[in-house]
Subunit: 393 residues, 2 copies
């Protein structure tokens, strides 16, 4: 029997738990039951089917279905159903329990409330907010991702073959990435976003509007998964935007680079690509603790406007309503860099900035980097060359 | 402007809708609001972010966020939030509305109920039951999947290289499958199951218990995704079980085959593999309309017992509690072939049977096929050779 189910050092787990408890106290929530996979991973460094009970001033209880999956650790309570939890913890009848109501199913939430004779309050925001400020160890995980992510991107030019389609290139990028250790999975918050490993957009497919909250769209290969590559042949004059999965350890860096198979990309597209780089350079300075997320968005949009590129900024037929977003265990964390965002940057936030443009006739251009927010501005965690890389035939 | 958002023929969409309405009438549900991606795909042949309102005796209404993603079809009502739905449809105050409470988030369900001043009833089972009996067109989609799935599996022996790890082999299978048109995605019902494209198990990693409802486990490459390949080197004496994604069109066939890099697999493992084939042969005859799912499970388990293999059946350190499951848009549909299942097989069900064994020291052996239930028994949709295929060095 093991002592603990934790797959992160005990001190690290305690630090994360204290962050949650501090937030619980600030919001006057005494009990939280965690079910969401991303939050379970945050609190323990592993994924299991079960629940974590957190008391704002006590020790957590780990409830696990199939406890032999975690080697019968001493700190685990085996349960087969949520109704078995109340006998193991002290939650007075009629209490308010924080539940992740933005991700928990209605059926599960009502079972838990009934089991405890409790009233639910929404704890999704508590967990999102806590996770938006990374610990030192989390920052290290993300730095490690960035290095591997860069390494995969450095190989992309060698994967191109003349006459290739966008999806064929994507498959070779997927293979390279998986051999480098990419886990493949994009964890997303919210109930509808789906994608497989990468969004690779060649030419006007970049202008196919997305049904999801992704920055860019793409028609996809099948209406069951309407995003990304659609079989476009990569030919001279088209841009190829590569936004591929950077999950090598359960955390995700987010990076986009633009490629082209010869140099004859339109002047407008080249200008827009440079504008994207300029926006990143500017926001790297403005992105300090205390900065308003919406001010960063406005700064990005105003640079695009000043360049006369507002019609192409964050899409053409449809415009995404943000220029950046937090990343970590999930691809869409806090803060959100958007016009109506109320988020304020804090030291330890990790954000992806993706000022992208869609130029009709050419395709998508621009870059995306992942950054840690530090007292001196943004620290880049992704470092691949930012200019458009030309595929040699 | 297009006439319709439907990506399946109008007659097919009407047929599926009539099946839902018949079930609604049988269960006395007058209104359903569909949100689940799998159900939206079922009803329209496409995926979008929105809702479908179904009245048991009227026409459906398609509510779509970002309607430019579907080209402003005439039959679409654009909404940005669920609160905008009531003004467009006639649902009396205080009505009962069927919602997919097993998959809908608590937050979204309560927003819809509040918007309509309605009471929710769980419509998840209605949709699951309807989708468990495939239409002729759906069966054709699954047959098409099976042919492509077979084609990918026929290439697996050529992908093996001496000294390869399980994950390296998996990456080559993923690439081959993606180039054949596999979409990569496993849609699953339920709130916790995650996997990336395939479960490939070499040697004793097959005995690592799964936290999920998968038949087999595997430690995985990282605790954030604890399933499947763990980096085991494929060496003589070990079995390699390949259970790889068969989603080429939004529907999924499920198939498993066993490989080995030389012929010296233990006698017990060879016997267990033959037992798996024998179980499939037997159930292909017993699996007729009207058959009880639990009787099929019992027949499979009794064949394993008669062979003295019950300790290894469906796992060794942990035993999966089923031998088969429906497949279609999701990998875990009805009926469930399990000891306590109350499901009765019907013509048009599509099920995967996976009588597998884990033999310590060797690994997982056995096969899995996908079948359509017909009046004459089970029609196989996957046809790859069933004996253990030996990788030649």
């Amino acid at each position: 029997m093991h002592d603990t189910l934790l797959m992160i050092p005990a001190g690290e787990a305690a630090l994360r738990l204290e962050k949650v408890k501090a937030r619980m106290k600030a919001e006057n929530i005494e009990h939280i039951i965690v079910r969401d996979t991303a939050n379970i991973f945050y609190l323990t460094g592993r994924v299991f089917d079960g629940f974590i009970y957190i008391n704002a001033s006590g020790n957590p209880t780990y409830f696990v279905r199939r406890p032999n999956t975690i080697h019968h650790c001493k700190d685990v309570v085996a349960v087969t159903k949520p109704e078995s939890m109340p006998e193991h913890i002290d939650v007075p009848q009629g209490s308010e329990i924080g539940l992740e109501l933005d991700s928990l199913t209605y059926a599960m939430a009502t079972r838990i409330m009934k089991a405890f004779n409790a009233k639910a309050v929404n704890a999704s925001a508590v967990m999102r907010k806590v996770r938006s400020v990374k610990t030192g160890m989390e920052l290290e995980m993300l730095r490690e991702d960035g290095i591997k992510h860069d390494h995969v991107y450095s190989k992309i030019p060698s994967l191109f073959r003349e006459g290739m389609t966008d999806i064929e290139l994507q498959v070779e990028i997927e293979r390279t990435s998986r051999l480098e250790g990419c886990l493949g999975q994009f964890r997303t918050a919210g109930d509808v976003m789906e994608i497989h490993m990468a969004n690779i957009l060649a030419g006007d497919n970049a202008d196919a509007a997305s049904p999801y909250d992704f920055a860019m769209g793409g028609q996809g290969m099948n209406p069951s998964l309407p995003v990304g590559a659609n079989g476009t042949v990569i030919r001279p004059g088209l841009s190829v935007m590569v936004d591929a999965n950077g999950n090598f350890n359960g955390y995700m860096t987010d990076m986009t680079r633009t490629f082209a198979c010869t140099g004859d990309i339109s002047e407008k597209a080249l200008k827009a690509h440079q504008c994207s780089i300029d926006i990143c350079r500017a926001l790297e300075k403005s992105g300090r603790p205390g900065a308003e997320a919406r001010a960063l968005y406005e700064e990005a949009a105003s640079i695009a406007r000043a360049a006369g590129l507002e019609d192409y900024f964050m899409g053409h037929s449809q415009h995404a309503g943000f220029v950046g977003h937090g990343v970590g265990i999930e691809i869409n964390e806090l803060p959100v860099i958007a016009p109506k965002s109320r988020d304020i940057l804090e030291t330890g936030n990790v954000i992806a900035l993706e000022p992208k443009f869609v130029i009709p006739g050419t395709g998508a251009v621009g870059i995306e980097n992942t950054y840690a927010v530090t007292a001196n501005g943004l620290e880049a965690l992704t470092h691949s060359p930012e200019q458009i890389t030309v595929f040699l035939p």
